[in-house]
């Protein structure tokens, strides 16, 4: 790499380099995961449970070591200029930068529904999940969205809970009906 003459350009250059090489974060994650798996395997107390020549420790050791090797190999690949190709799709437009706001909103809506599902019941939490997600994705039809959400959620509840015998919490609303 060449050193820029202007000192103020250096941090910007480094930031651009980091952005270009953000895939190194994946290597970091793989490395951390490998260390985690190895630590867990090595701190395992296997004296009592060992049966046969291969105990519960061997495979985690292999997987953990494999993670470290792959992390290193991926880092080499990235530093040499290799890049993972972001996945395309029918509705995916990769020419625009990622819309983090929508992703965060969806994550929040999903967590909110997870919190609500037990106290409020599935029909309510599910309807809020659908409406909230549709809202986050840009739908603003206040006349239509809540209605679709409510019908979808209630029908799903009925099909799973009553028809298929997969219990879902009804919540106070179903208790009242």
């Amino acid at each position: 790499m060449t050193t820029p003459a202007d000192p103020s350009a250096a941090p910007a250059g480094r930031r651009a380099w980091l952005r270009d090489h953000s895939e190194l974060g994946v290597c970091g994650m793989l490395l951390a995961l490998g260390v985690l798996v190895l630590t867990d395997a090595l701190t395992m107390d296997v004296d009592l449970t060992q049966r046969g020549p291969v105990g519960p420790r061997t495979v985690p050791l292999v997987v953990g070591a494999g993670l470290l090797v792959v992390a290193a190999a991926l880092a080499v690949d990235v530093l040499r200029g290799g890049r993972g190709h972001a996945e395309g799709g029918e509705d995916v437009d990769l020419s625009e930068p990622a819309d983090w706001r929508t992703v965060l909103l969806l994550t929040g809506v999903f967590l909110g529904a997870a919190v609500l599902i037990e106290p409020a019941g599935f029909p309510v939490a599910g309807a809020l999940l659908f409406w909230g997600a549709a809202f986050a994705l840009g739908s603003r039809r206040l006349d239509r969205d809540p209605l679709i959400a409510a019908v979808l959620s209630f029908v799903t509840y009925a099909v799973f809970d009553k028809l298929l015998g997969v219990p879902l919490p009804g919540g106070p609303l179903m208790g009242a009906l």
């Binding site: 049966r51 046969g52 494999g66 993972g84 599910g126 994705l137 840009g138 799903t156």
Partner: protein, 504 residues
């Protein structure tokens, strides 16, 4: 003859009114899902895994098989009318199908695709009936070392045949294996990667991993890059073919399965390679070479037939060896595990009603598909206009239902979201999702077979290679691994005269 007899029994199962209903539900759902942009058959089956908690296995698999074939059918509609294929298998359909639709021959393209799927599926399923019992018989006394070899083959195949980067495939596989390690060791009860948590001691349910990676990961990924102003589908009438079209398409329909079926049965990436090979073959054999690229009907008929036949081939290795060669097969394998059924050579002996009912329902499903899809095509095309916020909100909704239905626990929803975010990151950095799913599904089984094999041989590694079957499988693995090395000198020989370049 034995197979024919069993197949007749299978028709008895598949034609019962209730199972017929499930087959119809399956093909309708499958077609709708295949047509809907953004949902592939793997995600569809993953989202429907929770029905395994309420349905009996025969009904569930009849429905899943309908979804698999139906989604193939529907996927080509999207390619032809929208030119943005979502499933890799449908890419080729867009090459000639979309120009045909633009030239006002969309109806013929749809008909050629639909009939191609019917022909391919039919021939493929007949081959399945003929071959599967034989393969199962040959494999019936394979033991732990052989199973382990097969699973290693699956791991190697998904990481090195699919995708563009082996390192990234391997990283994905190891992530999956790690998730599969979480929980109590099945042989000794030792806690692994549970960090003392009771919730994690049961392991991470395969349903949650599949739904998280396929559905949540995909929905979040699309949400981050949602195309403003979706492409407009080309309007289309009722599909039909005239005599001139038929004369050009019947041979490609029959040739497609010959290419598709073998490729489906081996772990080589499902329908992607055979559809392309069929396209190239038809182009070479065509008498209308000037039409290629502008809408040659053979280029739709052949590849679509190959695609459906490859789905049947996939079922051969999935049912007889327990070896999933595509994402859909992997998720169906997860469904088998939900029922505690082990697909493999013994499946035909232990669960004849299930297997033959499933195979018979494939025939039923194909007839249903042909009968429904030709008249309904304009209606299916309307599905392409669904507002995208509803589509992806619906995916999140059903993913949540599925994960919650696993055990009725809120913590599963949180795990689902975490795995979904992992799937998002994997899509961002080009890590393929399939190796991770295969790792979770097959990892624990592979470890057990490995340890069992080594227990029998008392720790000696030779115990892993002491059967001809295992040796054969390892030989295949070596060829797979050495393939790029073998290919390079060959290419260099061909490219003599050009400056030699050392590849990394």
């Amino acid at each position: 003859m034995d197979a024919l007899h069993s197949l007749l029994d299978g028709f008895g199962t598949a034609l019962s009114p209730l199972n017929l209903l499930w087959a119809a539900v399956g093909v309708l759902l499958g077609t709708a899902i295949g047509v809907l942009p953004g949902i592939g058959p793997a995600m569809a089956v993953a989202l429907l895994l929770p029905v395994t908690y309420g349905l009996d296995p025969v009904a569930a698999f009849i429905m899943f098989a309908g979804i698999y074939y139906g989604a193939m059918f529907g996927g080509s509609t999207t390619s032809i009318l929208l030119n943005t294929p979502g499933e890799s298998a449908a890419v080729v359909a867009a090459l000639e199908g979309n120009p045909m639709a633009k030239a006002g021959r969309g109806a013929q393209a749809l008909a050629a695709a639909a009939a191609g799927h019917f022909a391919g599926g039919l021939i493929g399923t007949v081959l399945l009936v003929a071959l599967a019992p034989t393969v199962a018989d040959l494999a019936v006394d394979i033991g732990a070392p052989d199973y382990f070899a097969l699973m290693v083959l699956a791991f190697i195949a998904v990481t090195s045949v699919l995708g563009s980067s082996r390192v990234r495939g391997l990283a994905s596989l190891l992530i999956g294996l790690t998730i599969g390690l979480v929980g109590l060791d099945q042989m000794t009860g030792q806690q692994r990667l549970t960090f003392g948590s009771l919730q994690l001691a049961d392991g991470v349910d395969v349903v949650i991993v599949a739904v998280g990676l396929f559905a949540i990961g995909e929905a979040l990924w699309v949400a981050a890059h949602l195309r403003r102003g979706a492409a407009e589908p080309i309007p289309v009438g009722r599909p039909w073919l005239d005599r001139a079209d038929l004369r050009r398409t019947w041979k490609p329909w029959l040739r497609g399965p010959l290419i598709g079926f073998p490729f489906g049965a081996i772990p080589a990436g499902g329908a992607e390679i055979p559809t392309f090979l069929s396209y190239v073959t038809e182009k070479r054999l065509s008498k209308h070479k000037d039409e290629w690229g502008k809408g040659a009907i053979e280029g739709v008929a052949g590849p679509e037939s190959a695609a459906s036949a490859s789905a049947a081939g996939t079922l051969v290795s999935m049912l007889t060896l327990g070896l999933p060669t595509t994402a859909v097969a992997a998720v169906m394998l997860a469904a088998f595990q939900q029922y505690g059924i082990q697909p493999g050579p013994l499946l035909f002996e232990r669960e004849p009603e299930l297997v033959w009912g499933l195979i018979a329902s494939l025939f039923v499903g194909m007839v249903l598909l042909l009968a429904l899809n030709l008249p309904l095509a304009p209606l299916w095309a309307r599905l392409l206009r669904i507002p995208r916020p509803y589509l992806y909100a619906g995916i999140l909704f059903f993913a949540a239902v599925g994960a919650y239905a696993v055990g009725g626990e809120v913590v599963d929803l949180v795990i689902l979201l975490v795995i979904g975010l992992l799937g998002f990151g994997m899509r961002r950095y080009g890590l393929p999702v399939l190796p991770a799913v295969i790792g979770v599904i097959l990892g624990p089984g592979a470890e057990q077979q490995l340890r069992r094999a080594l227990q029998i041989s008392d720790g000696s590694v030779t115990g892993l290679v002491d059967t001809p079957f295992a040796v054969t499988v390892y030989a295949v693995i070596v060829v797979l691994l050495a393939w790029p090395l073998l290919r390079r000198p060959a290419r260099r020989l061909r490219g003599r005269g050009r400056a030699p370049r050392e590849g990394a």
